[in-house]
Every structure is written in structure tokens, then in C-alpha cells.
């Protein structure tokens, strides 16, 4: 009895080890490709991309990438995670040094399919982030700001907006301004 269970576990462990080793490179390559594709999407073309940097703002660690050209910083790509409706919502946000949002891209989410998941496809919602000016307010219209929400997905829209606002705040901190980051979840304020 013990012998049988041990043998089965050993065999299964060996199989898992082999498959893990065989797929490790492919998995790393796939996730790196997804990351690079999203960075490429949110940054202006041209400019040399830096390695991953880390900065702590408001007690939360942010990963960011710099795009530089002619010795100047052209743009930042900040990875920003907040709580969405169904779990963590992770965005890659491209921000210009003056605080303009260049573009956004969703790295991972667990929003409701057909509702909150539209944050990756809804043309009106996704489109408004392209060159979102620094002068506009990063809050939903219903909360007194300038962001259009996705119909019937206020909580997801609010979380998405918060993730973008946090990324902009991170960039402002990197640029030398001191701006507080609101790490609260988008779902907490109804």
C-alpha cells in the first residue's frame, strides 16, 4: 500500500519535473513577449527601452521602463495593479514626462466576461486613453472627472482609472514632484 502510493508519487513527480523543464523556456518567452508587446503598444515609437526599474511610491512597489532618446527621457511605461471587480487588474500605462497618458494596455484581469472584460475591447473606453491630457481629471464622469465609464461596469472602469491615475502619480514622483498615490481598491467606493 505505502509502496504503491510512493511509486505513483515518484513517477508523477518525475513526469512533472520533465514537463516543467521542457516548457520553462517557452513559458518565459511567451510572458516576455506579452510584456514587450504591451510596452511597445503604450510608448511612442523610437527611443531606447531600459531594463525593468523599481520604485516605491505610497508603500507600493511599481515596476517601470524608461524610453530615452537624445539623452532625455521620452516616456515611462509603468506597470500598475489595483483591485478590480473580480480580482487584480494589471495595466501597462505609458506616460509622458508632463503627465500625459500616452496609451494603456491590460496585462491581466479577471473581470466579468461580457461586462468588465470589455475594458480590453470597448472602443470608446479604450480609445479615450490615447493621449489623455494631463490637464483632465483622472476620475469617472460620475465621480466628477473626465473619464467615460463602460456601460454597466462602473467598478471595473473606476479601478482602471485608478490604475492609470496611480501610474501618472508614479511618473510625477519620478519627475521630482511629490504626489500621493491612492492605493485603495476601485471596488471600495460605490
Amino acid at each position: 500500500m505505502v509502496l504503491c502510493l510512493t511509486a505513483v508519487c515518484l513517477l508523477c513527480g518525475a513526469v512533472l519535473g520533465l514537463v516543467y523543464a521542457a516548457t520553462y523556456d517557452a513559458i518565459e518567452a511567451a510572458s516576455l513577449k506579452a510584456l514587450q508587446a504591451s510596452i511597445g503598444q503604450v510608448l511612442p515609437e523610437g527611443g531606447a527601452l531600459s531594463e525593468a526599474n523599481h520604485v516605491e511610491v505610497g508603500g507600493q512597489d511599481y515596476e517601470y521602463y524608461l524610453s530615452t532618446g537624445d539623452g532625455k527621457t521620452l516616456a515611462y511605461a509603468v506597470k500598475s495593479t489595483v483591485s478590480g471587480f473580480g480580482g487584480p487588474l494589471t495595466l501597462m500605462v505609458g506616460v509622458l514626462p508632463d503627465g500625459t497618458v500616452y496609451n494603456t494596455s491590460v496585462l491581466s484581469h479577471t473581470e466579468t466576461p461580457g461586462l468588465g472584460a470589455k475594458c480590453t475591447t470597448d472602443a470608446a473606453f479604450v480609445g479615450q486613453w490615447k493621449n489623455f491630457p494631463a490637464t483632465k481629471s483622472l476620475k469617472l464622469k460620475k465621480d466628477g472627472g473626465d473619464v467615460d465609464a463602460i456601460t454597466a461596469s462602473t467598478i471595473t472602469s473606476r479601478a482602471y482609472t485608478l490604475a492609470v491615475a496611480n501610474a501618472v502619480a508614479v511618473v510625477k514622483n519620478l519627475e521630482g514632484e511629490s504626489v500621493a498615490v491612492d492605493a485603495a481598491s476601485g471596488a471600495s467606493a460605490y
Binding site: 504503491c4 502510493l5 513526469v15 512533472l16 514537463v19 516548457t23 517557452a26 511567451a30 479577471t110 461580457g114
Partner: protein, 194 residues
């Protein structure tokens, strides 16, 4: 030959996991928000079901009765993890949609149920066919439920827009899943199951 075909057909109609055995309700309700999601989940389960049925029917005679459930679970969990790694490596976009539900195949009643009720007592060949039949039956059920929910809830089928507008949102959410499943189950049992 006739017996082999009937083994596969049984999985579709007589032993249809969703509408007759009513097993594996968690993935059925959760992943059928669109026809494509239902199809991917069905195929993932099919893969695990066939391989675990084969492996379990091969080792069943050597496994003492007292430990057969733990052994089955270890075997199933191994195949699920293999599937998870393969999907992560080669179809990351599908993995991103189904990610959460792949590990749950381990405790899917259909897989353990077939291991216990069929693979443990039958030959490797018959168990493989049973796995294919039940797996395809599960896939077909998920696609039908997903299709109905997608058409009613998002106005599209397999991602193609059928009519403008958003459809009835409730069908994309959990309550719609229960409604569609209930009506389909009733229709299935009235017309197909003799």
C-alpha cells in the same frame, strides 16, 4: 466495432456528463460565458479525461483498494499540471481566459467519476474510448450552453456579431448560466434521453 462506437456515443447521450449525470457543474456554469470559452474548457477536460482514463485503467489492477482514490487524484493532478504548463507555453491567450479553471479540473467530478466508475474496472482500450466519448459529450454540452448564452447575452456567436446591441446582460452573468442550463437540461431529457 459496434461496441466501440456505442462506448463513444454513450458519453454523448446516455452518460452525457452535463445534462444526464449532472457532474462538473462548477466549470459548466463558470466558463460558458461564450461558445469559444466553453469549447476550450471542454477540450482541456477531454485531454485530461482521456489520459487519466488510460493511465488509471493500466495501473488499477496493481493499486490496493485502500489507496485507490489518492492514487487516482495524484495521477489526475499530474495530467492537469502538465496541461497547464503546456497551455502556458504554447497558447498563452487561451490560458489567460481559462487560467483559474484549469487547476479545478483536478477536482472535476467527471474525471474522478469516470476513473472510479469505468477506468478502474475496464481495459485500457475501452477506458480510452469512454474518456473520448464523455469528454466530447462534455465539450458539446459546454459549446451549446456557451453558444446560447453568447447569442442571448452578447448578440454574437463564436465572436461574430449577429445583431447590433448588447443583448440581455443577465445571460452573461451567473443567473443566466443557471437559467440556460436548466432549460437545456429539460429539453435534453424530454427529447434525446430515451
Amino acid at each position: 466495432m459496434g461496441k466501440k462506437i456505442s462506448l463513444i456515443l454513450d458519453g454523448f447521450v446516455k452518460n452525457n456528463p452535463t445534462f444526464v449525470l449532472v457532474l462538473g457543474m462548477c466549470p459548466t456554469l463558470a466558463t460558458t460565458t461564450s461558445a469559444m470559452n466553453g469549447l476550450s474548457m471542454g477540450l482541456a477536460t477531454l485531454f485530461v479525461l482521456v489520459l487519466s482514463n488510460i493511465a488509471i485503467s493500466a495501473i488499477a489492477p496493481m493499486v490496493p483498494d485502500k489507496v485507490h482514490i489518492p492514487v487516482y487524484i495524484v495521477v489526475i493532478a499530474t495530467f492537469v499540471t502538465v496541461l497547464q504548463l503546456l497551455m502556458q507555453a504554447f497558447v498563452p491567450s487561451v490560458y489567460a481566459t481559462l487560467g483559474l479553471f484549469i487547476p479545478l479540473i483536478v477536482v472535476n467530478c467527471i474525471v474522478l467519476g469516470r476513473a472510479e466508475a469505468f477506468a478502474g474496472k475496464n481495459s485500457v482500450g475501452a477506458s480510452a474510448l469512454d474518456g473520448i466519448g464523455v469528454g466530447l459529450g462534455f465539450t458539446a454540452s459546454l459549446v451549446v450552453i456557451g453558444l446560447v448564452r453568447e447569442i442571448l447575452g452578447s448578440g454574437s456567436a463564436f465572436g461574430w456579431k449577429l445583431f447590433p446591441g448588447d443583448g440581455v446582460l443577465a445571460f452573461v452573468m451567473a443567473p443566466g448560466a443557471f437559467l440556460v442550463l436548466g432549460y437545456l437540461m429539460a429539453l435534453f431529457n424530454k427529447y434525446l434521453k430515451k
